[in-house]
Structures are given as structure tokens and as C-alpha cells.
């Protein structure tokens, strides 16, 4: 599904990703962990196509297509979804209008006409229930005045509506209390199929108690320095990152 080879990227002239290799297959859940500043969020932004980041080397294939050549909206249509660490507030744009525009843009991409109002409302109702998102929020502006938990649930709600093939969830657990964390994680699990894949970017093992990864990577200084099974996350939780640094021959 996703093949990242020797990916280099920079922002404002500063190189953040220094050669990432990553392969994700349908049905897999990958966790990417790593200390602050290691490039986790940059990787997610680059995969989603944020124009503020400049790719300076390497390649990314998504189902055989050159992902890096696509506009962010095309990546979305092709099935890449980014759940933001800090979901963006858009005052004045209602959730309803936003989602209608998103759904219809995707349909247009696949040559279908706009969804009928009744069909759309049914879809919204159905997907809202996955993350127990309050109906009230639908009439409000996108993320405006939402609590931290509501924002993250709103991300998973959008993911449910767009039905991506690959979801990249950037620190979806940050700022969540334990109940919200459970709801968000259950939402992600409900959406999991044998055909789609998820990359969970997180700081802590906590989220991985709920979303079970198949493969865990450690990102450090712009490179994936270690890849193993779920036990790696537990080890990190227990021992911190220092032992990884030591293994890399760094002074701690």
C-alpha cells in the first residue's frame, strides 16, 4: 500500500527527515514512537502534503502511484487521511457544510454526482455514533469552541466519513482524558478492516493499550532507528528512550 523510501524533507531550510524507510500493507496497524523533535509530526505532514514542508529526496508510493506528486486533496481522494495533532479551528465554516464539501469533492473525483441531502444526513448520523459525537457540534463551526476531546473525536468522525485506505493519526491521544481516549480508540478500532491500514503516531504506550499495533517503529533524529513488534512499545514505556540512544552509540 505505502512504500516510503529514503525520504528526506525540510522546513524553513532545516532538514527534519533524514532518510525514512517505511512499508505499510493493508490490514496493518503501525505505531511510530519517538522523543520530541524526532520528526514524527513532520512525517505525517509530508505524507499528507503540507506545502510548508519541502521534500528534498526519496520517494513515496501509494498503491503504485507517486504520492509526492499529488496535491493534498488528491491524496485525500486516493485514501490518505491525516488526523491532526492540533485540529484546526475554522470559524464561520459549519461542520455540516465542511463535511458536505468534503464528501462531494471525493464523489466528484470518482465521477459521481453530489450526495442527496437525505443521504448525507443519514451518513452523518451513522458516522457520528461511532465516536459518540454530539449532534450539536454538527451545527457549529469546524472545531471552534470544541473541547480537546471533542476535537479529537471530530477527527475520527471525519475519518469515518471519508473512509480512507490509510489513516495517519498524529498524537491523537494528546490532551485526552481516559474516557475520551477510550472513545477515540474504540472509534479507530471500529473502522479497522483487512483492507485499510493505520499509522498511529504517539508519545506514549497508553494509546497502544487500546489500539493494538502490529509493528512499532522508533523515529529518532529524522530516521527510523528501530522496528519491532508490539513488545517494543512496552519496552519504551518501561525503559524510556535512553537505551535506544545508547544503542545508537550516543552519550546520554
Amino acid at each position: 500500500m505505502l512504500k516510503v523510501k529514503d525520504l528526506h524533507a525540510e522546513i524553513n531550510g532545516k532538514e527534519i527527515l533524514k532518510g525514512i524507510d517505511l512499508e505499510v500493507r493493508p490490514g496493518e496497524v503501525h505505531a511510530i514512537m519517538g522523543p520530541n523533535g524526532s520528526g514524527k509530526s513532520t512525517l505525517s505532514m509530508v505524507l499528507a502534503g503540507n506545502p510548508a514542508y519541502k521534500v528534498t529526496g526519496g520517494s513515496v508510493e501509494f498503491y503504485g502511484k507517486d504520492l509526492l506528486a499529488m496535491e493534498p486533496e488528491t491524496r485525500s481522494h486516493e485514501g490518505v487521511f491525516l488526523g491532526f495533532q492540533y485540529p484546526v479551528e475554522i470559524p464561520g465554516v459549519s461542520m455540516m457544510n465542511f463535511m458536505r464539501a468534503a464528501v462531494n469533492a471525493k464523489r466528484k473525483y470518482f465521477g459521481e454526482g453530489p450526495m442527496s441531502a437525505a443521504e448525507f444526513l443519514k451518513l452523518m448520523r451513522e458516522k457520528r455514533s461511532i465516536v459518540e459525537l454530539d449532534n450539536k457540534l454538527a451545527s457549529r463551526s469546524v472545531n471552534e469552541g470544541f473541547s480537546g476531546g471533542e476535537k479529537k473525536r471530530n477527527e475520527i468522525f471525519q475519518m469515518a466519513v471519508l473512509e480512507p485506505r490509510l489513516s495517519i493519526l498524529d498524537e491523537t491521544d494528546s490532551g485526552l482524558d481516559i474516557d475520551a481516549l477510550r472513545i477515540v480508540a474504540e472509534g479507530v478500532n471500529k473502522l479497522k478492516t483487512a483492507q485499510n491500514a493505520t499509522i498511529v503516531i504517539t508519545h506514549y504506550q497508553r494509546l497502544l493499550d487500546y489500539i493494538k499495533p502490529d509493528i512499532v517503529h522508533i523515529l529518532y533524529k529524522g530516521r527510523i532507528v528501530k522496528t519491532a513488534g508490539p513488545e517494543l512499545a512496552l519496552e519504551l514505556e518501561e525503559r524510556g528512550y535512553d537505551w535506544v540512544k545508547r544503542e545508537l552509540g550516543e552519550e546520554v
Binding site: A48, E71, S76, L82, V88, I90, P91, G92, A105, S141
Partner: protein, 452 residues
């Protein structure tokens, strides 16, 4: 020394004064000589002068316009084929064709007892003493727009809501100007809200289209009596070849509540002035507006709110979206006089710039002469937020669509200050279409359907 750009009007008046007077009313005619004397000595502000950052009065007035002094009627029946662009609003509909008031179908019947919507000229002929009390009572005769309309306006609009009358349904005035030649239309409006009265008024300003140049000059005087409630929504959708200079002069008595929302959706060159004054205590003014300018359009707003009395409250918000080579300007002054205690005034100007060549001039000002006030003012001009754009694109919206939605969203708080049911939604739709680059959104209006 007469200003060159004013000379044509002075000469036109000199040549046609009898005809002008004959087609008007003595109450209006009495002010012409004073206006003439004023215009002969008036030094027009230059573009870039204080309060005229964008408006080139000499260029606008200096173009060669005709004035329909004999008031020959246009070969247009506005009621024919008119479809209200604002569904679900049971409006009493009137037209002003150039300066002549024409009733829409059934509009008189729909008006309740106690409200007058009439031709200013006819009212001034019928009840001269009453019009005399109000006409030219607020507007400063030395203001160029006021002096020009005092000299040349032969008619206009008279609205009066009598004491205690609360008009439930909004009244809509569609102002259409145009003709076969380049035309200047001068217009005077007087609105009198007596004690405890209530009215919501929607004024749509349109030009007839085509290749002719048009200049509309409009002076409105609004008297808001004790505890009256008035909402005035003005919308401009006119052609690139049109120019509009308007001044609204407002006087508010005790406990009155006035909302003015001026929306320039499309235009050529527009200058809207708001001169507001509290003459009583505990009154409230909400002064809002928006301007959408692209190509080579120009929109300038000047506002001045004088707090000379106690415990009045002003909320002011103007927003502009400026693209391509367009220029917009906001100059706003709130002045709180010495001894006027307990006043609150909040002024805000927010602008969105969409290109390197677009220009926005903003001058928010507060002048406060006592300590017992709560006031703020602010201005911010910026571009669309890149992160918002990116967020929307990751959900599949094209960059173009995301920009459009964000621009619409930018105007949402001005549109939210529309309190006529149905009109808010309609306006949101018009603004959406405007940002989508579609032609003026009022093609349901009579003029365009007539032309089809």
C-alpha cells in the same frame, strides 16, 4: 475659484434651475441656493487627504454625466417580471427608478396603518411643514455629497413610522438606476422613526447594467425617536462602470436602538459615509458593513460616531475582502465628549488581502475626553490562514474551494448581524456566489429578468 469637476453641475443648475425646481418641491428647492454658494467655494478633498484615502472625488465627479432634470421616465416597469430575490420574506416592495418611487404589486396594501413610504417630493408638496422639520436637518451642508444632492436632488424617499407603530414585516426598497446615457442620479432620503416605533428596512442598490457610466449620489437623514427600533440593511450590487457616493446621517434619541448594515457585494467605485450622533441617553447603535472588492474596484467607508450623551453603546464592525488590484479603505472615528459618562464603544475593522497588488487602508480612531468609558478599537489585515487551507485540503477540498469557504466564513459575523428571517441565508448565498466568481447574485431581480 470653482473646482473644475464641479463646474459642470453649477452650470447645469444655472441653466436649468427653473426646470429643476418645477420637477421638485419648494421644501427641497429652498436649499439649492445655499448649496450652490457652498459648491462655488468648495475645495474638494484630494485623494489621499485625511478621510479620503481612496476616494478621488475630483475624478468621480469630473466625469461627464447627464442629469435627468426633466425626469423623463425610463421605459421600464419594474413590477413586470420581478421575482423577489429573498424568498420567505413577506416584504412590502417598492422601487426607486433613478429618483422616482414606484410601488411594487400590492405593496401599499401590505403596509400596516401608521407607516408612510412615499416619494419625498410628493410628501413635501402635500405636507411641506412636516418635511421642512426634517429635510436638511442633520446632514452637514458643506459635505460634498450633501451639497451636491441639495443642489440637484428633485425627489427621493420619505419614510415615517408613527408613534407606537411596530411594523412586523420588513419593507424592501429596490433602487435601480440607469438609462441610455451616462447618468448622475441625486437622491435624498428622510426616515423618521417616532417614539416606540419599529421598522426593518432593506435597500438594494442596483444599476441597470450595460455600457453607460452611472453615478449615484445619495444623502439619507434618519431620525430615531425615543425607544424606537430601526434596522437598515443596504446592499449594493452594481456594475464596474458605476460609482456611488452616499452619506447616512443618523440622530438617536433616548433608548433608541439602531442597526445599520451596509454590504457592498459588487460595485465600481463606492464611498459610503456614516455620520451618527446620539442626542439622547442609553441608546444603542450597531454599525456593520462588508465590502468585497476584486479587479479594479474601490470601496471606502468613512464613519463617525459622536457620543455626546450618557450611557450609549456602539458596536462597530467593518470587514473587507480585497483581491486583484482592488483598493478598500476604512476610516472610523468614535468620539466620546467630555462629560458624556458611562459610554461604551467598540470599533473593529478586519480585512483579508488576496493579492500582492490589492490595497487596504485602515484608520480606526478613538477620541475620548473623559474617564468613565469603555472603548476599544482595532484593525487587522492579513491573508488566509495557510494551516486552515491545508486542513481543508486534507479533507479533499480543492484549494480554490477551501479559499472560497474561508472567505465566506470571514464575512459570517457581518452576515450574522442580519435579523430578517430568510435574508441572512439569502445573503450568505449571494456572498458565496460572489466569491465563486459568479455574476452579481441578484439576477432574480427585475432588471435582469427584464433584459432576458
Amino acid at each position: 475659484m470653482i473646482e473644475e469637476s464641479l463646474r459642470q453641475y453649477i452650470e447645469l443648475y444655472d441653466t436649468n434651475r427653473e426646470e429643476i425646481d418645477a420637477q421638485s418641491a419648494p421644501v427641497l428647492n429652498r436649499h439649492r441656493e445655499g448649496a450652490l454658494a457652498c459648491l462655488k467655494h468648495l475645495v474638494l478633498p484630494r485623494k489621499g487627504d485625511d478621510n479620503y484615502e481612496n476616494t478621488d472625488l475630483r475624478a468621480i465627479l469630473g466625469a461627464d454625466y447627464g442629469v435627468n432634470v426633466r425626469r423623463v421616465q425610463l421605459p421600464v416597469n419594474p413590477a413586470d417580471g420581478f421575482h423577489c430575490g429573498i424568498p420567505r420574506v413577506a416584504t412590502s416592495l417598492f422601487f426607486i427608478i433613478n429618483d422616482r418611487l414606484v410601488c411594487g404589486v400590492d405593496c401599499r396594501e401590505k403596509l400596516p396603518e401608521g407607516i408612510e413610504v412615499e416619494s419625498l417630493r410628493e410628501k413635501a408638496l402635500k405636507a411641506p411643514e412636516e418635511v421642512e422639520r426634517y429635510y436638511a436637518g442633520l446632514a452637514d451642508g458643506s459635505n460634498p455629497i450633501v451639497a451636491m444632492t441639495a443642489l440637484l436632488a428633485q425627489d427621493g424617499l420619505w419614510i415615517k413610522v408613527k408613534k407606537g407603530v411596530r411594523v412586523a414585516d420588513p419593507v424592501q426598497i429596490i433602487n435601480l438606476s440607469g438609462g441610455v446615457n451616462d447618468l448622475l442620479t441625486p437622491l435624498r432620503v428622510v426616515i423618521v422613526m417616532e417614539e416606540d416605533s419599529e421598522l426593518r428596512l432593506l435597500v438594494c442598490n442596483h444599476t441597470a447594467g450595460g455600457s453607460v457610466n452611472q453615478l449615484t449620489l445619495s444623502t439619507s437623514e434618519i431620525y430615531a425617536g425615543r425607544n424606537s427600533h430601526l434596522e437598515v440593511y443596504t446592499m449594493e450590487e452594481s456594475d464596474m462602470t458605476s460609482a456611488r457616493l452616499s452619506g447616512l446621517w443618523l440622530r438617536q434619541e433616548d433608548d433608541s436602538d439602531v442597526l445599520v448594515n451596509g454590504m457592498t457585494i459588487s460595485n465600481g467605485s463606492t464611498r459610503n459615509e456614516y455620520h451618527c450622533r446620539y442626542a439622547g441617553t442609553a441608546a444603542r447603535l450597531r454599525l456593520y458593513g462588508m465590502g468585497i472588492a476584486d479587479a479594479d474596484r474601490m470601496i471606502e467607508v468613512y464613519s463617525r460616531v459622536d457620543h455626546d450623551t450618557d450611557r450609549c453603546h456602539t458596536d462597530e464592525l467593518f470587514k473587507f475582502s480585497v483581491d486583484d488590484r482592488a483598493c478598500c479603505g476604512f476610516t472610523g472615528l468614535v468620539r466620546v465628549a467630555e462629560g458624556a459618562v458611562g459610554n461604551e464603544a467598540y470599533q473593529s475593522n478586519r480585512n483579508l488581502i488576496g493579492s500582492n497588488e490589492a490595497r487596504m487602508m485602515s484608520k480606526p480612531q478613538l477620541e475620548i475626553y473623559n474617564d468613565d468609558v469603555q472603548c476599544s478599537h482595532g484593525s487587522a489585515t492579513g491573508q488566509l490562514d495557510e494551516l486552515q487551507l491545508f486542513y481543508m485540503r486534507t479533507r479533499g477540498l480543492s484549494e480554490h474551494e477551501a479559499r472560497m469557504l474561508l472567505k465566506q466564513a470571514f464575512m459570517a459575523d457581518v452576515i450574522n448581524e442580519v435579523h430578517i428571517p430568510g435574508l441572512k441565508e439569502r445573503l450568505a448565498h449571494i456572498v458565496e456566489r460572489r466569491f465563486a466568481g459568479e455574476a452579481a447574485g441578484c439576477h432574480e431581480c427585475s432588471f435582469n429578468t427584464c433584459g432576458e
